[in-house]
Amino acid sequence: MTEVSRRRLFAYSGVSLAAGAAAGAGLVSVAQAVEQPADDGAVPFFGAHQSGIATPVQDRLHFAAFDVVTDDRDRLIRMLKEWTAAGAALTGGRPYGSAAGGLPESPPDDTGEALGLPPARLTLTVGFGPTLFEKDGKDRFGLKARRPAALADLPHFPGDALDPDRSGGDICVQACADDPQVAVHAIRNLARIGFGVVAVRWSQLGFGKTSSTTPDQQTPRNMFGFKDGTRNISGDDDKALDQHVWASAKDGVPWMAGGSYVVVRRIRMHIETWDRTSLKEQQDTFGRTKGEGNPYGAEHEHDPVPLAKLPADSHVRLAHPDSNGGVRILRRGYSFTDGSDGLGRLDAGLFFIAYQRDPRKQFVALQNRLAGNDHMNQYVQHVGSGVFACPPGPRKGGYWGETLFA
C-alpha cells in the first residue's frame, strides 16, 4: 500500500487516523481495526473464499452491475482497495468513515442510513465480467490474456429476450443482508466511492430468497408459490463445494483459485397467466406438489426424486443432477417485484443467481437442456443476464481482485 493510496482514502474525508494506524499500512490497518467479533451477526469478510457464496442465504438482495468508465488501471486498483476497506467496515456493521461527525463543510463520508442497524449478516461479493478483460476485441487494462476460458460469453438460449440495459457489466457486486436497508446502503456507498471509475449499469433488488444453502431450514417458495432449490448444494458441504463451486488452481487459472463463477438471470414470470393455470398443470410443470413439495412418486419434500415418475418435461426432472450427469450448481436466487409494467401486469419473477466452478460445463449445459424442453418456459422469459468471475476472498492486507491485478 503506498502513501498515495492511503491519503486517497482519507484526505478527502477528514477522517483522522489513529497515529498507530497511519504508519505505512494505511488502509489495511483501518480495515482490521473495524473488524467485528463474529458473534454479533457479522459475517467474516476476509478469507480464502468470498463471503456471500457458501454463506447461509440472507433475506434480501441488492445486486449491482457496473461499467468501468476509466482507462486508468491504477485508478481502478485504487478503487478496489477503497471498496475493500469499505466492505470490511460495512459488513462489520460500521459506517465507512464518518457518517455524521465530520467537517460541517464536507458531505459525510458515509451516507448514514445504516447507522444504528446491526450488520444483518451483510455480505458483499465482487465479480469481474468478460468486458473487463476485453471489449470489442480490444484488450482492457492489460487483462485480456488473463481472462479465464470458463468466463466465456453466455450463448443465446432459445426464448431469451435479453434487455441490454439489464444485462452484462464489467464488475458486479452482490450485496445480501437480512435487512434491505443494509444491503441498499452498501451498494449506494460503493457506487458513490466508485464515481469516476465505475458507473452503475443496472441493479436489481430481491426480497425473498428462493433457494436455501441450509437444507435443515424450511425451503422457501418462489413467486409461483412452489418450493424451489430443495436439492441445492449445502453451504457446509465442503466436498460438494470443492467439486462444483470453488475454482481450483488445477483448472488452469491460478488467480481464480478459491474463487467461483456466477451466472445471474433476470427471469420474468408471467404471473397472471400462471395464476389462471390449474393446480394439476402447475404441479406437472414442476413435477412436485404445491403443498408439501414432494416430488411425484415420493412422500416428502426431501425424499429422493424418482425421476421416472415425473413428467418428462417437468422442471425438477430436467434440472435434476441425475438427468445431467451429476452436474450441480449452487443457487442463491431471490424473488423480485419491480411494481407493475405498463400493461398493469406484475413485473415480477426470479433473479436467478448460481455459483459454479465452470459455467460452460454447468449453467450453460443445464440451461441448454431447460431452454429447449422445460414446460415452465411457457410461464417465464429470461430478460436479463450476466456472467462474472468472482475472485478468491480478499486476504487481510489485500484487496478484491488482488490476484488478478498482481
Binding site: 498515495v4 491519503r7 486517497r8 484526505a11 478527502y12 474525508s13 477528514g14 461499467d67 468508465v69 457518517a99 455524521a100 461527525g101 465530520g102 467537517l103 460541517p104 463543510e105 464536507s106 458531505p107 447507522l115 458513490r192 464515481f195 469516476g196 471509475v197 458507473a199
Partner: protein, 373 residues
C-alpha cells in the same frame, strides 16, 4: 433555476453552513456544549446569549409553542444566513453557521410565515485568520462575477431588442448565449432570492397565481407558441431585472467556502436540470447552460487550486482530470457557436454525460471541506 425551497439556503453566502437535525445522537459537529440555546414559542424568541465571537456558531432551538416553527439567522443587511424549517412543537433543531463580526438577528417564525419575533446577536472578533491566497481567490472571483453579469446583461439586451422587434429567428439565436453569463455565476445570482425567480423560473416552478416572467417565458413563446406578440414587456422586464442584479452583485458576500459550495451547486444544477433536459424544455439548448455551469465551477476551482494543491494534492489532481474530461465530452456536441439540440442527444449519450457529471461532482463536493480547513 433551482427549486424555490432551496433558495434561502443558497443565500447563505456569508459562510458555509450545515443544517443538522437535532435527532442525531452521534456527535454532530458543533452540537456540543458550546451551542447557543434558542427557545421559541408561538409569540417569542429567547436567545440564551446576546453575543458571540466570530467563527463557527451553533444555535440550538427548542420549540415550546403549539405551532410549527422556523429558525432564521439574518445577516446585518437582512439577508438570510441560514434557516431551519419545520421544527415541530416539542421538538428541536440545530443550525451551525460561520459568522463574521456584525449584528445579526435570530428570528423565530411560528407558522413559518417568514415573519416573527427576533433578538439581536452581536458577533465580535476576527474569526480565524484566513489564508491570504484565499482572499486573493475571492477577489478574483468577484471580478469574474462582475464580468459575467456584464456579459449576460449585454447579450440579454440584444436578445430583448430582437424579441421586441418580433424577430423570431434572431431571438432564437440570441437566447442561449444571453444565459451563459448567468449560468456561470448562478449560485451568486441566486443569493439575491428575489431575482432568480423573476428571470429564471421554469413554468413548472410556478405556484398557482404566480406571474411567469423571464427567459423561459420568452423561450416558450419562441419555440412553442411561435409568436412574439405581447412579449416585448417581458423582454424589457428581463433586462430590468438583470440591471438590478448588476447594481447589487457588488454587495454579495463571497467567501472561499461559498465559492467552493457554489461550484458544487453548479454541478447539482447540471445533474438535476440539464442532464435531464428539463432546463430548456422548449429550446433544447440545455448543453449551452450545462457548459456555463461547468465553466463557472471550473473557474472557482482554478482560483482555489493553489491552496487545494497544497492541502490535498490528490483532490486537486482528480478535479483537474475530471474537469478536463467533462469539457472534452461537451466538446463532442459543439455545433457552430453553440451546441446540438438536446433532443438529439440519445439515451446512451445522456447516460454518459450523467456518469461524467457524477465523476466530477463527487470530488467537487469535497472542495469546501478542504478550503474551510
Amino acid at each position: 433555476m433551482r427549486p424555490a425551497h432551496l433558495i434561502a439556503a443558497a443565500g447563505a453566502v456569508v459562510a458555509s453552513l450545515s443544517l443538522l437535525s437535532a435527532c442525531g445522537k452521534d456527535d454532530a459537529a458543533g452540537g456540543g456544549s458550546g451551542a447557543i440555546s434558542v427557545t421559541a414559542t408561538d409569540s417569542s424568541c429567547e436567545v440564551g446569549t446576546k453575543s458571540g465571537t466570530a467563527g463557527a456558531t451553533t444555535f440550538k432551538v427548542t420549540n415550546k409553542g403549539s405551532q410549527v416553527n422556523e429558525l432564521e439567522i439574518l445577516a446585518p443587511d437582512g439577508k438570510i444566513v441560514s434557516e431551519r424549517e419545520n421544527i415541530g412543537p416539542g421538538t428541536g433543531a440545530e443550525i451551525t453557521v460561520t459568522l463574521a463580526a456584525g449584528t445579526y438577528k435570530v428570528m423565530c417564525s411560528a407558522g413559518m410565515t417568514g415573519k416573527g419575533p427576533s433578538q439581536s446577536f452581536t458577533v465580535t472578533g476576527e474569526g480565524k485568520a484566513t489564508d491570504p491566497r484565499l482572499d486573493a481567490a475571492v477577489a478574483s472571483y468577484r471580478t469574474y462575477v462582475g464580468e459575467q453579469v456584464d456579459d449576460t446583461l449585454a447579450k440579454a439586451k440584444k436578445f430583448a431588442a430582437s424579441v421586441s422587434k418580433g424577430d423570431i429567428a434572431g431571438a432564437k439565436a440570441e437566447f442561449a448565449p444571453s444565459r451563459v453569463g448567468w449560468e456561470r455565476i448562478e449560485p451568486v445570482a441566486e443569493s439575491f432570492g428575489d431575482i432568480d425567480p423573476k428571470v429564471d423560473n421554469r413554468e413548472a416552478d410556478l405556484k398557482q397565481g404566480d406571474k411567469w416572467t423571464g427567459w423561459h417565458q420568452i423561450e416558450k413563446a419562441l419555440w412553442k407558441t411561435k409568436s412574439l406578440k405581447g412579449e416585448g414587456p417581458y423582454a424589457d422586464q428581463l433586462v430590468k431585472d438583470l440591471e438590478t442584479l448588476k447594481t447589487r452583485v457588488g454587495t454579495a458576500s463571497i467567501t472561499a467556502t461559498s465559492m467552493a459550495n457554489g461550484a458544487k451547486e453548479l454541478l447539482d444544477e447540471v445533474a438535476t436540470g440539464k442532464v435531464t433536459g428539463e432546463e430548456d424544455t422548449f429550446s433544447h439548448t440545455d448543453l449551452s447552460d450545462f457548459k456555463g455551469n461547468v465553466d463557472g465551477a471550473q473557474k472557482a476551482f482554478e482560483l482555489l487550486k493553489p491552496v487545494v494543491q497544497e492541502r490535498d494534492a490528490d483532490l486537486a489532481s482528480d478535479l483537474t482530470d475530471e474537469f478536463a474530461k467533462v469539457q472534452k465530452l461537451l466538446a463532442k456536441y459543439e455545433k457552430g457557436d453553440g451546441y446540438v439540440s438536446y433532443d438529439t442527444v440519445g439515451k446512451d449519450q445522456r447516460k454518459e454525460l450523467s456518469d461524467e457529471v457524477n465523476a466530477l461532482a463527487e470530488p467537487l463536493s469535497k472542495l469546501a471541506g478542504v478550503v474551510a480547513k
